[in-house]
């Protein structure tokens, strides 16, 4: 194997990893706090992608103006759109659905979110129809660069930066702020924190909105790269499951490591043994579950008898 191929695999893998991380981190945040494996997350991703692709198509694809202004505008659309979706969908799903299910079996909760996912997927179709949307302008504006003969869009590199930014902000928020400390207490023991006067209902709602925002952001930031069409959420959610399981459910560094492991091995498979592409991801997931079911980076659990 030559050096150039290795470099291509590395770059390709990191780009794919950052995409996976952005999608999976919201899932892991919600699982970490609420212990809910949230299938609706796939729909949050689609919502983010559709809203962004629609608005960029409306305002930016054919707009005139300097590259910098248009890019800033696109970024604003992506961010504001995701925050908006995080609030609306987050409140809707948490208050309207999950609130009633916290006392039920975890399988039932997963299935309920699966049902919510089916419903939201069709809501998307009702709003935006079945035609694909393209939000190519930001990608065009940023140009591309060549690495060993292969063309990479510069936009995809910014995704790597965004991933690290998100990871850092989450780490900081969790470990260095008052809200983070309260959150850790809730994660550690829900009932005792309630007894200590923490408003767990509020904490749950806020974390769910953050998780939803992250899911939507993943879709929104990814929208310019893909063709936004029905069915993108179904594919994403199962990949996000794999990443979260590999890293350890509920762990943010775990999601980062999981995304890098999956991203790099998929890139290696695509360039070396293309027929193994899908197989490799789930094989790693199975191996991790077999040898370290709690994941590579699971937070330490206090055992309750």
């Amino acid at each position: 194997m030559d050096f150039e191929l290795l470099l291509v695999i590395l770059v390709d893998g990191l780009v794919y990893s950052s995409y996976l991380f952005l999608v999976a981190v919201g899932l892991t945040v919600i699982f970490g706090v609420q212990k809910v494996l949230n299938v609706t997350h796939g729909a949050f991703y689609s919502f983010g992608a559709y809203l962004t692709a629609y608005l960029i198509g409306l305002w930016i694809n054919d707009a005139e103006g300097g590259a910098f202004e248009l890019l800033a505008f696109s970024l604003a659309v992506i961010l504001i759109g995701s925050v908006f979706l995080g609030i609306v969908l987050g409140v809707l799903i948490e208050r309207g659905l999950l609130k009633f299910l916290y006392t039920r079996d975890e399988h039932i909760v997963v299935l309920a979110t699966f049902a919510g996912f089916l419903v939201l997927e069709d809501v998307i179709l009702l709003i935006w129809g079945t035609d694909p949307y393209l939000a190519f302008r930001p990608l065009e504006l940023m140009g591309s660069s060549e690495i060993t003969g292969l063309i990479f869009d510069n936009y995809t590199f910014t995704m790597i930066g965004l991933s690290f930014l998100v990871a850092f902000v989450l780490w900081y928020g969790l470990n260095r702020t008052q809200f983070g400390k309260v959150l850790l207490a809730v994660i550690f023991d829900r009932e005792v924190s309630m007894a200590m006067g923490i408003n767990v209902t509020k904490i749950f709602l806020i974390t769910f909105m953050i998780g939803t925002f992250l899911g939507a952001l993943g879709g929104a930031y990814h929208a310019p790269i893909i063709s936004v069409q029905p069915g993108i959420g179904v594919e994403v959610i199962v990949l996000a499951f794999a990443v979260v399981v590999i890293g350890g459910m509920g762990s943010i560094p775990g999601a980062l490591i999981g995304a890098i492991v999956v991203g790099l091995s998929r890139a290696a498979a695509v360039h070396l043994y293309p027929e193994l592409e899908l197989f490799v991801i789930y094989a790693i997931m199975a191996l991790v579950l077999i040898f370290r079911p709690e994941g590579l980076f699971a937070p330490i659990q206090a055992r309750k008898i």
Binding site: G116, L118, M285, L289
Partner: protein
């Protein structure tokens, strides 16, 4: 023999006879719905068997797809009789479950569900790339013979229906007897308190392993019936994770109270899907998901619980009206 006075057994037998009679009256599209319900019903019984232990698999499309693809592979090497295909499909799915069972029997709760899903997605990843089996396009299934008998084109589907009904009947009665046996009842104890079961001298893991193989065989049987019904197998409609989700959906819809109810659940699911797709193609998933949510919220024990609910109410009403004169 208490078995002979078992209501579920007689209910299933009556169902068997009724379906034989109905076979002459059914239109072809109804028969198709019936066949698909029988197929998914078999898989859902497999999930019910696991559910009684508190285990839920989000990856039973693995065995379903394995059974279906076994039919395709057996046909490629020239085996074309329904009984051989059925035995083949059940045996390979069961063997796979036996092997994976050594691993999965150690897992509980969400890890069990997710490890199953991982294995089913591995199979999906493999099947989507194997050219010899048509990769993502899938592969066609030919018409089969029935114990050497080759029916005419007109009577092919009715014959297939009769065989599917018999297979499903055997699966249902067998599973029902298993669940009522000591071994079957013990696994409910495993759900309640696994450690205590171990202290009583039984191996919980072994009991779960047996259960897992049984559910694998049932899912394989469902796969065989589905492959023959549709006449085509492909990874997206046989092995993808959403297929596993649909099976769990049916199990919830029917409730885990009774084996026979599973077929009713599967039929309701099939009708819901067909009609939603027919009359509201834009929102059929919304209708499906919405009904699932309603069931989870308002009928947590599934359709079967309507029956016991109704019975309780009647008993209550009878008690009230009966008590009034006595109180005078």
């Amino acid at each position: 023999m208490t078995r002979l006075f078992d209501k579920t057994f007689w209910g299933l037998t009556i169902g068997l006879v009724a379906l034989f009679a109905l076979n002459f009256l059914l239109e072809e599209w109804m028969r198709s719905i019936g066949l698909q319900s029988l197929s998914r019903g078999c898989v859902a019984i497999g999930l019910l068997v696991l559910w009684r232990t508190g285990l839920v698999s989000f990856g039973h499309a693995l065995f379903f797809g394995f059974g279906a693809y076994t039919v395709a592979m057996l046909q490629i090497i020239g085996v074309n009789d329904i009984i051989l295909l059925l035995i083949g499909g059940c045996a390979t799915a069961g063997l796979l479950a036996l092997v994976l069972g050594f691993l999965l029997r150690q897992y509980r709760a969400i890890f069990f569900a997710l490890l199953n899903m991982a294995f089913s997605m591995i199979l999906y990843g493999v099947l989507a790339k194997v050219e010899a089996l048509g990769s993502t396009d899938g592969i066609g299934i030919n018409q089969v013979s029935f114990f050497g008998f080759v029916p005419s084109d007109d009577s092919y589907r009715p014959t297939l229906f009769i065989f599917a009904v018999i297979f499903a009947y055997i699966a249902a009665v067998g599973s029902h007897w298993y669940l009522k046996s000591t071994l079957g009842l013990m696994t409910m104890a495993v759900r309640e308190n696994e450690i205590r079961v171990e202290y009583l001298g039984y191996s919980a893991e072994k009991a779960i392993h047996i259960k897992y193989v049984l559910s694998g065989v049932l899912a394989g049987m469902g796969g065989v019936i589905m492959a023959l019904t549709i006449g085509h197998v492909d990874p997206d409609s046989m092995v993808y994770w959403t297929v596993s989700g649909d099976f769990v959906f049916i199990t919830i819809l029917a409730g885990t109270g009774n084996v026979g109810a599973t077929f009713i659940g599967a039929l309701v699911y099939e009708l819901l899907r067909t009609y939603a797709f027919e009359f509201a193609p834009e929102i059929w998933q919304l209708i499906l998901g919405g009904s699932l949510l309603l069931i989870i919220m308002f009928l947590p024990d599934g359709l079967w619980s309507i029956r016991s609910e109704w019975r309780n109410r009647r008993a209550l009403a009878a008690a009230k009206s009966g008590d009034a004169p006595a109180g005078e």
